[in-house]
Amino acid sequence: MTTTERPRPAGYDDHRPFWDGAAAGRLVVQRCTQCGAVRWPPRILCGACLSPEVEWVEATPTGSLFTWTVIHHTTLAGFKDDPPYAVGLVEVTVAGGLVRMLGGIRGCAPSELQVGMALRAQFEVVDDGALVNWVLVGDDERQET
């Protein structure tokens, strides 16, 4: 990583399905076809059973805010104009288990952030894929689901 630019998707083969999915507005993660464990980030083998056999499964692009912070001061040159910006760990339930992802939390005031709140993925297209950010699920949406 250089110190003056934002890090970007590197385009490794084993991450490609995730970036392609995100670019198409879909949240996909790996699932072990041997034992069924889901995993994130992508890996070449299953941490639970060591099997290399893997499939990519689409997750419903919603999650629950496990924890969050609002960054008021950053020394990362690529982000120096961004503060304050919120980052959270989001729990996503997929058939077979649950993964936590680190993502930007967008479109809400720091005072609105609460552990456990419902979020929806928002895909931010960048050079070679899309970053997964998260926004609050609106009251209307919540009634639908």
Binding site: P7, T67, T69, V70, T75, V87, L89, R100, L102
Partner: protein, 385 residues
């Protein structure tokens, strides 16, 4: 040979804070020579030289470079340039070499000049390499923010307000005010902590480690090879736990590996938490101390902040913690911070702490963590009889 034959025999410390007249290499040389002299041996007696490298002078073979600088040729040189748990876990590796008969004297040294040797932002950015480079770094997480994520969840789990954590910084500063060697010595109040600016919610500036110059060194020896120049300190046991690297992969973000490393160290030492007279707990961020007090068994889950707030960790309290001022107020030159915990614990057990001495201190605990509360090491030390 048994663990009771493994002794800390020598200690060396440089000035901390801003030491612009010294390079990191000069700081290293000074603390190694001081520790060796304190142990009553000569540099040629060192069989194993372990250094923590330097961010400012990032030599690949750093320990060899230091040996060359000192004009010595120890049979074993190791550069172990990882974070806050390493200074404590290295006590275990050193003990193993001594127990195996592969060494008689081991030196562990860490020094750096982060405050004056490089710009502050480049220091912090140089530390900011814990996130997944492809899948997390594009979101701009800083090191403090990754810790803040854990603090936020801890506050939620324990039903605490951020202001209940602030006394950790106040107590560290009080102890620093008693330590002429500490970097920040002016007493502060809870209000000062809460008035300091937010770095990454809920972490405020005075709850975050400073950036410092400084270093220290420790000599470990087989008891029969100790010169007897200074009182001996036994390393009774070291426990370790290594759970994860990325915060998304932690088995729990509500409890830490101290729940494994602590009991392992207590078990192997044959000591219980109630027998600890003084504790040094790595606290680059204030809330860490509260979580670790709980996870090490000094108080019940969720009561770490109250334990500190009630005065237990102050000198004169039930369990004085970080009598040198902690990482928050003594210094944070990066890798040396946790080794300073070992040095302070040994000084307490040698009864050398003057106005901050814990009277009758016989048994001490040192806990280091690194990564983002990912890697843990706990040591139990005792004044040798």
């Amino acid at each position: 040979m048994a663990w009771s034959d493994i002794c800390i025999t020598g200690l060396g410390e440089s000035p901390v804070g801003k030491v612009p007249e010294k390079s990191s290499t000069d700081l290293y040389a000074g603390v190694i020579l001081d520790a060796v002299d304190d142990a009553g041996i000569t540099p040629d007696d060192v069989d194993v030289l372990i250094t923590g490298g330097s961010r400012v002078d990032p030599y690949l073979y750093h320990a060899e470079m230091m040996a060359e600088y000192l004009g010595i040729t120890p049979p074993t040189c190791l550069t172990v340039n990882t974070g806050g748990s390493t200074s404590v876990s290295l006590l275990r590796q050193a003990a193993a070499l001594l127990l195996a008969g592969m060494a008689e004297h081991v030196v562990i040294a860490k020094a750096d000049n982060l405050a004056t040797g490089m710009s502050r932002d480049s220091v912090v950015e140089s530390m900011a390499t814990i996130g997944h480079p492809e899948l997390e770094s594009p979101q701009g997480p800083t090191i403090p923010s990754l810790y803040a994520l854990i603090e936020q969840r801890y506050l939620h789990r324990a039903s605490l307000r951020p202001e209940e954590i602030a006394p950790v910084a106040v107590v560290d500063r009080y102890h620093a005010s008693l330590n002429p060697a500490a970097q920040y010595r002016d007493p502060i109040t809870t209000e000062d902590v809460l008035a300091s600016r937010l770095i990454s919610d809920p972490l405020r500036l005075l709850e975050c480690a400073p950036v410092s110059d400084g270093g220290c060194a420790v000599v470990l020896s087989r008891r029969e090879r100790a010169s007897g120049k200074r009182p001996l300190v036994n390393v009774l046991a070291v426990g370790q736990a290594h759970d994860f690297e990325h915060v998304t992969q932690a088995s729990s973000l509500e409890y830490t590996g101290a729940r494994i490393s602590g009991p392992a160290a207590f078990r192997d030492a044959g000591v219980s938490p109630s027998e600890i007279d003084v504790a040094m707990i790595y606290d680059a961020f204030a809330f860490i101390q509260c979580m670790q007090l709980e996870d090490l068994g000094f108080c019940a889950p969720g009561e770490g902040a109250a334990f500190v707030g009630d005065g237990n960790t102050r000198l004169g309290g039930a369990l004085p913690v970080n009598t040198h001022g902690g990482v928050l107020s003594h210094s944070h030159a990066g890798r040396p911070s946790a080794l300073f915990l070992v040095v302070e614990a040994a000084r307490q057990l040698r009864n050398e702490c003057g106005g901050r001495q814990v009277h009758g201190a016989a048994t001490a605990l040192v806990h280091g963590e690194g990564g983002i509360l990912a890697s843990h090491a706990t040591a139990v030390l005792r004044a040798a009889s």
